[in-house]
């Protein structure tokens, strides 16, 4: 059982305060959705949790099973069990999926004997074409291929807590269904905890949130059960601008 606890997190980008006071608690097997309009600070939350350069934590703390995450460099956060699925996965020229996963498992001191087979079976499971597995990471991939690739990595690395930054952006319906379903399955198969950051609720058909939090102007303004997402569909975010 793992818990990621975000306490009163405040984050600046440059001189601009983007997140003011964000608190969330995500445990193994749970799915928490953070929903908000453009500019609410959604992507800043995911970047700050993973330690992306350029994001300055001005106050608050982030604990993974009680251990301070913010003092760790990015790679150690990942080894500790956090995993970020990026909104726009970066093209890494000349680096293949197998090489990257092999290096990632090495830092976790996990053996890589069956890595090739594992990658292929995870790829098959979400209809990621086997020939793309041998290409450079994300290079010349479509939006859907990039997200399937991200999902394969998540399944291979088996993190404790996954942060999904706008999984549904740039993605066709079929790819969204495959990726969201795989992550929903992971909450049961590997007891994955999920923080899903999104503008729209369309991915909730497969990936069922236990809690929904509304983020506007850098603050969580409301938290409730999945019914809140349904309510948002009707009222929009305007009703929560506070």
């Amino acid at each position: 059982m793992t818990t990621l606890e975000i306490r009163n997190l405040a984050v600046k980008v440059g001189d601009k305060q983007i997140l003011d006071d964000v608190s969330l608690k995500i445990s193994s097997g749970e799915v928490h959705a953070v929903m908000g309009p453009n500019g609410a600070g959604k992507s800043t939350l995911s970047a700050a949790l993973m330690g992306k350069p350029g994001y300055t934590i001005t106050s608050g703390s982030v604990l993974l099973d009680g251990v301070d995450v913010l003092s760790m460099p990015t790679w150690q956060r990942a080894v500790a069990g956090l995993h970020l699925v990026m909104q726009y996965p970066t093209e890494v020229h000349g680096v293949r999926l197998h090489e990257a996963m092999s290096a990632a498992l090495d830092s976790r001191k996990q053996d890589t004997d069956d890595l090739g087979g594992q990658i292929l079976s995870e790829a098959r499971r979400i209809n990621f074409p086997a020939d793309l597995v041998d290409r450079a990471l994300n290079v010349d991939f479509s939006g859907g291929e990039k997200k399937r690739n991200e999902t394969v990595q998540l399944a291979v690395l088996r993190p404790k807590i996954a942060i999904l930054d706008e999984l549904d952006s740039g993605l066709d319906i079929d790819a969204l269904r495959d990726c969201a379903q795989r992550i929903e399955d992971a909450t049961r198969e590997m007891n994955l905890g999920v923080l899903v950051i999104t503008h729209y609720s369309r991915l909730f058909e497969q990936l069922k949130p236990d809690s929904v939090h509304i983020l506007t102007n850098g603050r969580i303004v409301k938290s409730a059960g999945p019914e809140l997402a349904a309510q948002l569909e009707v009222t929009g975010y305007a009703a929560f601008n506070g």
């Binding site: 350069p53 460099p73 290096a103």
Partner: protein, 353 residues
């Protein structure tokens, strides 16, 4: 001796170079130890006495090479296909000498040959090698040439490659530079026959106090000629690199295509790379492009890999090897090339080559 004088950095072609540090008179004439490995079939075309067509020297180093050349010549017959690569290794053994190896590859009509020329010396050898390579590809001939610099960290190189392509010929000219203290190569391609094609590809990686220096020319002197240049380099620690390249399309070279790309990674704050592309186009109706970049490893790529849990030094190694992958993938396959990736990898980890 040569009647010419040493150049200075005031000459554009020597700008940024370390020519000012050279004490040429401090070196005594010497020789490289040369070894040729090839099939029995290829042995028949290797000569050391062939009369080399004279050519004008551009400067004192080429002039000295013409006078003191240690010649290896490879001359194919018409339609001859030399299936195995010819591998020539030159080793500078003594310190304090200057050596002048000379290689002539003369590919007759519709023949095919691959030649690998390696330059090696031990770490403590303080010497100068002045290699000159002449490649001539006659009509429809196909020549692949690979130069590999694995010189020790105290050895200097001031080198020249000149390749001339006849009608419908195809030349692939590769350079890999990992070694040397100051290692320079002036690489010129002249496309004289209609439809001639040349590729120039280089990988260079300098660390510590090394400097790699490349001056390239893609000279189009006939219609429908095609040249494609890709030079990728990295500098680490306080190393330096220079790339200057010119595409020249002469008036008669209509419907020609010329591409030139030079990309450089600066892996340390103290490292320095310069890239100067130039175009000189005397006719319309051609297709030309050049691109050049100098900069550190892409932060987004580094973050992406680190966010998977990859250690920073491994992430950097993957990104650099990925950067060079485009060049390594284009090299012909043979044992010396298979080791290149490992050599680059070791150098990234800080081990001296």
């Amino acid at each position: 001796m040569s009647t010419l004088t040493l150049p200075t950095v005031d000459e554009e072609i020597w700008r940024y170079s370390r020519i000012g540090e050279l004490d040429l008179d401090g070196f005594r004439p010497g020789k490289v130890g040369s070894k040729v490995e090839c099939s029995d079939e290829a042995k028949k075309i290797v000569a050391s006495t062939t009369v080399v067509a004279p050519r004008s020297a551009t400067d004192i180093f080429e002039d000295l090479n013409l006078r003191h050349a240690q010649l290896t010549a490879l001359c194919t017959a018409r339609n001859q296909i030399v299936s195995e690569p010819v591998v020539i290794t030159h080793e500078l053994i003594e310190s304090g000498v200057v050596a002048y190896p000379r290689l002539v590859i003369d590919a007759a009509e519709n023949s095919e040959i691959t030649v690998v020329e390696r330059f090696v010396s031990r770490a403590e050898v303080k010497s100068l090698v002045v290699p000159v390579v002449d490649v001539r590809a006659a009509q429809s001939a196909r020549v692949t040439y690979v130069a590999i610099n694995e010189l020790g960290a105290d050895t200097w190189q001031i080198g020249y490659q000149r390749a001339v392509g006849g009608r419908d010929s195809s030349m692939k000219l590769f350079t890999v530079a990992l070694g040397g203290d100051y290692a320079r190569m002036r690489a010129e391609v002249r496309l004289e026959g209609q439809g001639a094609n040349a590729q120039q590809v280089a990988l260079y990686f300098a660390d510590d106090e090394q400097m790699h220096d490349f001056r390239t020319l893609q000279d189009h002197a006939a219609p429908r000629t095609h040249s494609d240049l890709l030079f990728k380099g990295a500098v680490k620690d306080t190393a330096k690199s220079v790339y200057t390249g010119l595409i020249r399309i002469r008036e008669n070279a209509t419907k020609s295509e010329a591409f030139q790309t030079n990309r450089n990674l600066t892996l340390s704050d103290g490292a320095w790379a310069e890239s100067v592309p130039n175009l000189e186009i005397e006719t319309n109706d051609v297709k030309c492009s050049h691109a050049s970049t100098v900069g550190p490893i892409d932060e987004e790529q580094r973050f992406y890999l680190e966010s998977r849990g990859i250690r920073p030094e491994i992430a950097e190694r993957l990104v650099v090897l990925g950067f060079f992958g485009e060049v390594i993938d284009r090299l012909p396959t043979f044992p010396a090339v298979a080791e290149l990736r490992d050599q680059v990898s070791r150098k990234l980890l800080g081990a001296r080559s």
